[in-house]
């Protein structure tokens, strides 16, 4: 039997769409929006930074601090690059590949899955560093940055919770159901 287009679609997600797929896409899109906003604020001084200034919370102090620049580039730019790469890895196509279901083989899916896992931990590691800077060096907290930190953590949980099936290894037996009942 040939793998016609209709057949391919019929088996796109044989056990139903995993919750990680839409969750990661939506959250990474929001995070990308916030990161772009912080980048624009950094470069275009006329763009207002909508953020409360209540002592501890002061976005302007954080995003204009000397620590907001790393190797000559604003940290927001690194955030843009990271979340953009992650957004690609969070595309349904990439999830599908890493579930061992894609057209490019299991090996490719495995690499996609591990790249996503490594990226999620890399992002979280950087977030810990930024939290340290905010609390101990700058002594102020930026709420916009904190929102990105929280989204990074949610993305990490999302990725880790998918490791049983998203490393090119397929779905676990607990999700094993007769395929006839799950055709879409």
């Amino acid at each position: 039997m040939s793998e016609s287009g209709s057949h391919y679609k019929r088996h796109l997600w044989p056990y139903g769409l995993p919750w990680q797929v839409p969750t990661s896409s939506i959250i990474s899109l929001i995070a990308l929006g916030v990161a772009i906003y912080l980048t624009v604020v950094h470069y275009v001084t006329s763009v207002p930074l909508a953020c409360p200034n209540t002592g501890t919370f002061n976005c302007e102090l954080v995003v204009t601090s000397p620590q907001s620049v790393l190797f000559g580039l604003p940290i927001a730019v690194y955030g843009d690059i990271w979340i953009f790469v992650m957004l690609i890895l969070f595309l349904p196509w990439a999830w599908y590949a890493s579930a061992g279901l894609g057209r490019f083989g299991q090996q490719f899916g495995t690499w996609i899955g591990y790249a996503r896992l490594a990226g999620a931990f890399l992002g979280m590691g950087f977030v810990i560093y930024l939290i340290y800077l905010e609390l101990y060096v700058i002594n102020h907290v930026c709420l916009w940055c904190t929102s990105v930190h929280i989204m990074t953590f949610i993305l990490l949980i999302t990725v880790v919770s998918s490791t049983r099936w998203s490393l090119g290894q397929g779905f676990p037996p607990s999700q094993d159901r007769p395929l006839e009942t799950t055709d879409h």
């Binding site: 495995t110 609390l135 880790v160 490791t163 049983r164 094993d176 395929l179």
Partner: protein
Amino acid sequence: MADGNNQGGNNKTGGKQGAAKQGTRAPGGRQGGASQTGRAAGRQGANREGANRQGGRAQTGSSAGRQGANRQGAKNARNRQIADGSGKGKFGNGRSTMFMAWGAVFIVIVIVAVVVAVKLTGSSTTSKSSSSQLAPATVVKDVTTIPLSQYNSIGLPNASLAKTASFNPPIEMKGQPPLKGLAPGNKPEVFFFGADYCPFCATERWPLVMALSRFGTFSDLRVTTSSAIDVYPQTNTFSFYKSSYSSPYISFIPVEYETNQPLTSGNGYTPLMTPTKLENAIVSKYDGPPYTGPQTSTSSSGAIPFVDIGNKAIISGASYTPQLLSGLNWQQIASQIRGGSTTLAKAAIGAANYISGAICSITNDQPSSVCNSSPVKTAKSNLGLG
């Protein structure tokens, strides 16, 4: 029917026919049996044997059943094999990877919790010792909220006050490019270079804080005293160490490079903040003749405090004598300045007006409420800045 659905179903039921069909690829046939074994432990052995048999049959039947093969079915079966631990991926099986990943997440949570908890409990230690402490709120409020009317009524020092207080206004800089690169963003920059031990820095910080507060807001200002073993010992003052400054008009970059704690060797004080290469270059270039005055036999370079106001004006040394602060604690100094009647108040407010005038020359006269005030405009004019 030899499509993927039927194969999957046969894997569940363990039917030999299905296994034989799926067995067009040998691993698939084995996976079908292995997947089923997870359902009931008691059946595992038998099923595994069955799987082996099926695998064996698949070998023989592969040529016959190739037309009915379905790559999707084999892929699914392979997935199950790896997922239930009977097969391993490139980096190990899915279960062990999952445990490692969750373990790493746990470590991440613990690290974040510790970082936040240590901060909240206030048990963090600074990497460098400083004898400064957070400034009392009343002191900060007294000197950062002086009304415009008081700045205007006191104005600039007259000749008599200038002589009494040894008044030393900022110096105009001509033909220099704008000060850039010390802080992110494109705002004009004001650079302070001083040290906690220095009594002249101690004196200068009062009008500097007053003037900068007209253009922005300080946070976490600290108070300290100058060295106990230098001239004008233990002059009470602010410290910019660990403070922050936010302004829509300018960036303020302070460096307090040493504490007020003498080294045990007796030669200098313990280091506090390390200036960057650019900051060192600015001090080397501008904190000396000809910018601070004509070259003479007694002129020196590198005096502190040094304030560079956007390369439009500099301050080298205190704006008035530290003697005016002698014997006064932080609150008494702040109250005197706020009161506006003493020599100290007139000298400090006059110096703040001069500094404000210099800052207005780099902010395009913004904010207008400050820059259009009479003494600030006069100060700008006196400094040759407009």
